[in-house]
Every structure is written in structure tokens, then in C-alpha cells.
């Protein structure tokens, strides 16, 4: 098959990407065993150009190909029918460009057309449907969940999202800025901002300093630590284990308050920008961060030990919401959730980030259930604390470097793709630049885009009252999905 092989965050010329016949591209995608990480169309004058990027996790390479489709073409043979990994991608492509994938198993809107869509149905004695949302009881984010139940047992959960679709991808083209990208999915501010900056830097061939790179990665890991601790507390809160809930909530505050001291924002807003970073970390601050992290680690150890030695906690977590490795693979699940299902994908290591090359990639003994989803957070907090300390140590080597480099102009006819391991998993930002040096297409793929169906599978044959526990274990983003 005809591909252009590229690295993470590498600019390539748009014209270098092979353009192959649409039908042959489709038929080849149906049989390839590489994971799709980007599958999106772009307006191309008379035509629509379909870009496809596949990840080769073994080699750490990205294979990109494309096809030109005439606007008069209205249908094609679905890839999903053979390869379920394309399920959501094809639905999204259909919604955006109205080219219908034939034989797609479940073609319904992704984000738009909230008025009319079908749902799975269940009929029979003692069966009932429970519809939850779109307004959340805790007034967090909107999503509609429909449970098909018999008694307490859930046969299927169907999730409908898109209630806060803001048209982010179009907004970015009009007004590319870090401020905008930071507000797309505010619990992954650092990851989004890094992905955006890396794409822009690749497209403009701007080389930022090592110091700036390290500070960015430091922020990324701190974000991971903070959110994971908060989630561990939330999981325990959902099963009414109050001590864990309160302890983790206070511990998380220590981490985000550290970021507040450095950046002026607890959620790391305003730190990362196209060309570098805004704030330095002084030696005094480094010492303080390390002290805080030591304390955080100690508290997390103690609380996790106490929680996992409580029989009631274990009884709730174990064997709840099982997702098999095979299912995870078929659904193209990524990141934290994939790892909790024994599918070892971690783009920090898979795509050979220079700063992670000296860090040992530790295996995780996954059990695929809610227990696994709790335990992997604990494991990653420990790992990330080590990584942060390592980065802070490295940072001393580059003390004299600048924080910020004036970025160059975007280079005409470019294509770049950046993968960042956000705390949820692989976040992919892809951008193209037209012949006049302007952004022409910006595509975001949040890890939640892959993983929402995993939640649906986790609920099958579980009791409906375990939904909040499974949901918190996945803790997926609504706004990152809705864009």
C-alpha cells in the first residue's frame, strides 16, 4: 500500500502524501492491522480530500495516505463492516461530508442532528429502558445515556453525545491561539496546548529550546498526577468510601496548587504557547515541587493501601465492568483505558519521545475491570512522580536556555500530525496548511473519541447501579468528544 512514513510532530509536504484511488484505499484499510489515528476529510476545491493516518506502534512511525473524492460521489463501501476500528471515524466523516458508508453497522449522528436518531430497542417482559440526561444530575457536562435493562441488569448502554459541539476545528482555523485550544477540554489543558504548539511548530519549522520542551512535559506529567489522584478519589466517592474520597481530594489540591504557584493557574492555563513556554521554574521552586511530590506520594501510598485492604472496596471494584483485551482492540481503545485492559499503548514511549527514552516503561498487570482502572491510576501516579523528578533534574542542564523562540511563518502546503499522551491517552492533532501559508484544516482526535464505546461495552451484563462506578473509572471527556 502506498503511504508516506513520517515521525511524530514532523512537517511533511502535502504533495508528498500519496493520493490513491478512494475505492482501493478503502479496501486496503479494511484489511490492514495498523491502528487508525486520523481519518478525516478536507474541502479540496471541486473535491474532498480524505486523509488517513495509521500508527505503527512497534516502529513508532505514522503512515499517512490520502484519496481524492469527487463531490458528486455520495456513497462508498464502509470499512467498519470489516474493521470495527473505523466505526466512529466513518460516522464522523459521513456527518461532515455527507458521503454515505454503505453497510455501516450503526450509522447515526456523532455530534449534530440531535433531533432524530435511532436507538437500540429492547422488548420483552420485565424489560425497561432508563434514559439519563442530557442534563447531568451533578450538572457537569451533557450526555445522553440510554440503558436497556431487564430488572437491574443492563443489556446495553447507548451513549449519545454532541450536546456541546462548538465547532472548535473551524474556530481554530480562523483564530489559531493557545488560549482557544486550552479551553477545548479544560481537564487536559497541558496536553491540548502541547499538541497544538507542536503541530504549529512543525508546520512553521520552529525549533524550540530543550528547556521549554522539558517544562511542557513537566506540566503534562503534573496534569496526569493531579487528575489521576482526583479520579481515584472520585471512584471511591462513587462507592461511598468517604475516607478515600476526602483524602484524595485534598491531596490533589496540593498538586494543582503547585501549578498555581508556577503558572498562576491551577489548571495550567497560560503556561504553554506556540514557540515555547511563559514561565520558568526556579531552583527554589524545584525543591518545593519535589517536597510536595514526596508528601503526595506518601499520602497516596497510604490511602491506596487502606482502600485496597478494605473488603467492601475490593468487592465493589473487582469484576465490575469487564472489558476484554479483544474488545479493546476492536474498538480501537487508547491510552489509560487500553492499558487497564492489558493493551499496552503509550504514545510517550511508542513514538520515541527523546526525553522519555531514558525512562523505564513499566508493565502493568491488568485485570480489565474497575479494579484495574483504579490500580492503573495509582501505578501511573507513582511513575509520573518519578518522571517529574527526572525532568526537573534534566532541567538543570538547560538552565541558560531561553523559554521562548519567536516562531516562524507557517510553511505553505504542509501537513503535520502531533501525538501527545494526555492523561486519558493518545491525543492527536493534525493540521494542513494551504498554498498561501494559512491553516486550511485542523483536526482533533481526543482519546475519548475512541473510548466512549468501551464504556458501553463495560456496562453489558453489569447491574445498572454500577454505572457510575464504571463511568468514573473511564472518566471520559464530553467536550473533547463534542469539539
Amino acid at each position: 500500500m502506498n503511504y508516506y512514513t513520517m515521525k511524530n510532530s514532523q512537517r511533511i509536504n502535502l504533495l508528498d502524501i500519496p493520493t490513491i484511488d478512494f475505492d482501493s484505499l478503502v479496501s486496503q484499510l479494511s484489511i490492514t492491522n495498523l491502528r487508525p489515528i486520523a481519518f478525516f476529510g478536507a474541502d479540496w476545491g471541486e473535491n474532498i480530500k480524505l486523509f488517513v493516518s495509521l500508527a505503527d506502534d512497534e516502529k513508532g512511525e505514522i503512515l499517512t495516505s490520502s484519496a481524492l473524492i469527487n463531490k458528486s460521489q455520495k456513497e462508498y463501501n464502509s470499512i467498519t463492516a470489516q474493521n470495527p476500528q473505523y466505526h466512529m471515524f466513518e460516522r464522523e466523516f459521513y456527518e461532515q461530508f455527507n458521503i454515505k458508508p454503505l453497510n455501516h453497522p450503526w450509522l447515526k449522528p456523532v455530534r449534530k442532528n440531535q433531533d432524530s436518531y435511532e436507538f437500540f430497542e429492547i422488548e420483552g417482559e420485565e424489560t425497561h429502558q432508563v434514559a439519563v440526561g442530557p442534563i447531568h444530575a451533578g450538572v457537569i457536562e451533557p450526555g445522553h445515556f440510554r440503558f436497556m435493562c431487564q430488572g437491574e441488569k443492563v443489556y446495553n448502554l447507548e451513549i449519545m453525545l454532541g450536546y456541546q459541539h462548538r465547532g472548535v476545528e473551524d474556530l481554530i482555523i480562523k483564530n489559531p491561539s493557545n488560549q482557544l485550544i486550552e479551553s477545548v477540554c479544560a481537564d487536559s489543558t497541558a496536553a491540548y496546548s502541547i499538541a497544538y504548539s507542536e503541530v504549529m511548530e512543525a508546520l512553521s519549522n520552529t525549533k524550540i529550546t530543550n528547556k521549554a520542551k522539558l517544562i511542557r512535559l513537566f506540566a503534562l506529567e503534573m496534569e496526569r498526577i493531579a487528575i489521576h489522584i482526583g479520579d481515584m478519589g472520585a471512584i471511591l466517592g462513587d462507592i461511598a468510601y468517604l475516607m478515600g474520597k476526602e483524602t484524595f481530594a485534598t491531596t490533589r489540591t496540593l498538586v494543582i496548587n503547585t501549578m498555581l504557584e508556577i503558572t498562576g493557574s491551577r489548571f495550567i492555563r497560560g503556561l504553554i504557547k506556540f514557540g515555547g513556554v511563559n514561565f520558568d521554574i526556579s531552583d527554589k521552586m524545584i525543591k518545593k515541587i519535589i517536597d510536595t511530590l514526596n508528601y503526595v506520594e506518601k499520602t497516596t501510598d497510604k490511602m491506596t493501601y487502606a482502600a485496597l485492604n478494605s473488603s467492601t472496596v475490593i468487592s465493589r471494584l473487582e469484576k465490575t465492568g469487564y472489558v476484554s483485551k479483544k474488545t479493546a482492540q476492536e474498538l480501537n481503545m487508547v491510552g489509560l483505558m487500553a492499558r487497564s485492559c492489558a493493551l499496552d499503548l503509550d504514545s510517550r514511549f511508542d513514538f520515541k519521545n527523546e526525553f522519555y527514552s531514558n525512562i523505564e516503561r513499566k508493565p502493568f498487570n491488568a485485570t480489565n475491570d474497575a479494579y484495574s482502572r483504579f490500580k492503573i491510576r495509582y501505578k501511573e501516579i507513582k511513575d509520573s512522580i518519578k518522571i517529574v523528578k527526572f525532568f526537573l533534574d534534566e532541567l538543570k542542564k538547560f538552565q541558560n536556555e531561553d523559554l521562548y523562540v519567536e516562531p516562524n511563518q507557517l510553511i505553505a502546503n504542509s501537513f503535520a500530525l502531533s501525538i501527545v499522551e494526555a492523561w486519558r491517552g493518545e491525543l492527536v492533532h493534525t493540521a494542513t496548511v494551504d498554498g498561501e501559508g494559512r491553516l486550511s484544516r485542523y483536526k482533533i482526535k481526543d482519546p475519548s473519541f475512541n473510548n466512549w464505546w468501551g464504556l458501553s461495552m463495560a456496562l453489558r451484563n453489569n447491574v445498572i447501579s454500577d454505572f457510575p462506578l464504571c463511568n468514573k473509572g473511564f472518566d471520559l471527556s464530553y467536550c473533547g468528544f463534542d469539539l
Binding site: 439519563v132 437491574e152 461511598a240 468510601y241 475516607m243 483524602t247 468487592s315 465493589r316 447491574v463
Partner: protein, 305 residues
């Protein structure tokens, strides 16, 4: 007369303090300051001042249900012995009135939950009804066994047990109290059966049944739920406290038992997680087995081996 007056005061006021205290205990274990123990009372007053809103799918039953169920609980409270082991109304077979008046209150609240035609409330109603069917016979076995022991079939015979006791008697007390504690947890919708502080309607049992209620109705429903907890605690206190104490000693020791139970419940809630819905049934069945143990011990005591 003074005792009856005291009982009425206790019946009306202690439920607020009990809930306030449970919440304070939870705050303590969570290293929080927590709200004042009078907060449940302030909430009650706040809700009482609010205007009611009713769903258009509901009828008179929904509007009447909180009042009927509150009246039922207050009425049941008249039969429960408090200070000096005396109740306000003391008649033979009071236990039957007590149990079935409470059952009526539950029946009405289940009806009102069903009437909202909400899928959540139907779910909650079926869960609640399910637990009640297990609890009710167990409660009868416990209380009736103890009464069989004293051969006096009024409610205040419960504390006779201390006077007719040897080692076997203490065992009977222990298991009777454990059974009533489980009943208290289930009826009061506390952890590990239900989580009173959750916002997750899919996991709720009691709270989900009242999702559509607000203002005065909600205030009455919460008040009667707390009062029910207090009534069951009073039964435990009655079993524990000896007869023949002077009025004030009796009052103080009664309140002491209530205080202890509140702190115990708060501590249980802080220390363990909630059970999986399927395991809740097993937990409730534990009450039935304790009840059967009480019954067998009583039989042993009455008729020998």
C-alpha cells in the same frame, strides 16, 4: 404525664440532632469541619418556606403522600417506648400497629414514586419494596420472640429482658440489637445499603423515590425518614436500658444511647464502602438470620434443650 410530654418533645426534636450528629461524625472522619449539627433543622425550615411545584403527570396521591407518610410515622412513634421505657400509647399488640403503620407509610411513598412515571423512581420503588419484604418478617421475629420471653405483649416489655437474663439473655440482647441495627441502616437508607449523600440517581434507593418532590413535601419526607431512624434507635435503647431508673437518669442514658448509635452509624459510613446492589440483599438477609438466632435462643430459654 411529664414522661409523655418528654417523649413527644424527643420524638419531634431528636431526629434532627441525630442526622446532624451522623453528618458531623462523617465530617470528622473525613478531616472536614462539617456543618453545624443543627443544619438538618435549618434545612427543614428553609424547605418549609418554599413554594411547591408538582409535575403535571401526578395526581392527588403524589400531593398527599408526604403528609400521610409523615402522619404514619408520627403515629407509629406514639407506640415506641422512650424515657423510662414508657410509651405514649401502651396497648397490647402495639407492635403490630407500629409495624403496619410504618408499612403503610412506605406503601404510600412507593405509590407516589410510581405515579411520577419516571424510570428512575420506578427503579427505586422496586428496590425499596424488595428490601422491605425481607425486613418486615425479620422484625416481627425479633420483637415477638422477646415478647414471648416476658409474656407481656406490649411494646415496653422489650426491656424486661434484662431482668430475666443469664448468659443466654445477654446473647439474646446482642443478636436482637444487631438485627435492629441492620434494620436501622436499611430503613434509614445509610451506607452500606444506600448512600444518602450521592447525586447518582442510578445507584440510589430511597433518595431516587423522592426526586420529583420539593419544598414542604420534601421537608416532610426527609423528616419522616429521620424520625423512622430515631424510632428504631429508641427500640434499641429500650432493650438496652434497665427499668426503674429515675426520670433524669433515664432521660440522659436514653439520649446517650441515641448519641452512641449516631456516632456508630457515622463511623460505619466513613469506614466502609457501599455494597454492590446484589450484595445488599445478602446484607439484609443477615438481619433475618440474626432474627432466627434470637428466636432459637428464646425457645432454648423457654423450653430448655
Amino acid at each position: 404525664m411529664l414522661i409523655k410530654f418528654l417523649n413527644i418533645i424527643l420524638l419531634l426534636i431528636t431526629p434532627f440532632l441525630m442526622v446532624g450528629l451522623i453528618r458531623k461524625t462523617k465530617a470528622f472522619w473525613g478531616a472536614r469541619k462539617g456543618a453545624s449539627i443543627f443544619q438538618p433543622f435549618y434545612d427543614f425550615v428553609k424547605l418549609m418556606k418554599k413554594e411547591s411545584v408538582f409535575s403535571s403527570s401526578t395526581t392527588l396521591i403524589f400531593k398527599l403522600s408526604p403528609i400521610i407518610s409523615f402522619a404514619c410515622v408520627i403515629f407509629a412513634g406514639l407506640f415506641v417506648p422512650m424515657v423510662q421505657g414508657q410509651s405514649i400509647i401502651n396497648i397490647q399488640g402495639g407492635i403490630i400497629i407500629f409495624a403496619y403503620v410504618l408499612a403503610l407509610s412506605k406503601f404510600i411513598s412507593i405509590l407516589s414514586a410510581m405515579e411520577t412515571a419516571s424510570s428512575f423512581e420506578g427503579m427505586g420503588a422496586s428496590r425499596e419494596a424488595c428490601f422491605t419484604t425481607i425486613i418486615e418478617p425479620a422484625f416481627f421475629i425479633v420483637v415477638a420472640s422477646i415478647m414471648a420471653l416476658s409474656k407481656i405483649y406490649t411494646f415496653d416489655s422489650l426491656n424486661m429482658i434484662l431482668y430475666s437474663s443469664n448468659h443466654l439473655g445477654y446473647l439474646i440482647i446482642l443478636f436482637a440489637i444487631l438485627a435492629l441495627l441492620i434494620m436501622l441502616i436499611v430503613e434509614g437508607a445509610r451506607v452500606p445499603v444506600d448512600d444518602p449523600s450521592t447525586h447518582l440517581e442510578l445507584t440510589m434507593i430511597h433518595e431516587v423515590m423522592i426526586l420529583d418532590n420539593c419544598s414542604q413535601e420534601l421537608a416532610l419526607i426527609s423528616y419522616s425518614a429521620w424520625m423512622k431512624m430515631f424510632l428504631i434507635s429508641s427500640l434499641i435503647a429500650t432493650i438496652l436500658l434497665p427499668l426503674g431508673l429515675s426520670l433524669w437518669v433515664s432521660l440522659v442514658s436514653f439520649l446517650g444511647v441515641i448519641l452512641f448509635i449516631s456516632i456508630l452509624i457515622g463511623t460505619i459510613e466513613s469506614a466502609i464502602a457501599r455494597l454492590r446492589m446484589g450484595h445488599v440483599f445478602e446484607f439484609v438477609f443477615v438481619m433475618s438470620s440474626f432474627a432466627l438466632v434470637v428466636a432459637s435462643l428464646v425457645a432454648l430459654k423457654l423450653y430448655g434443650v
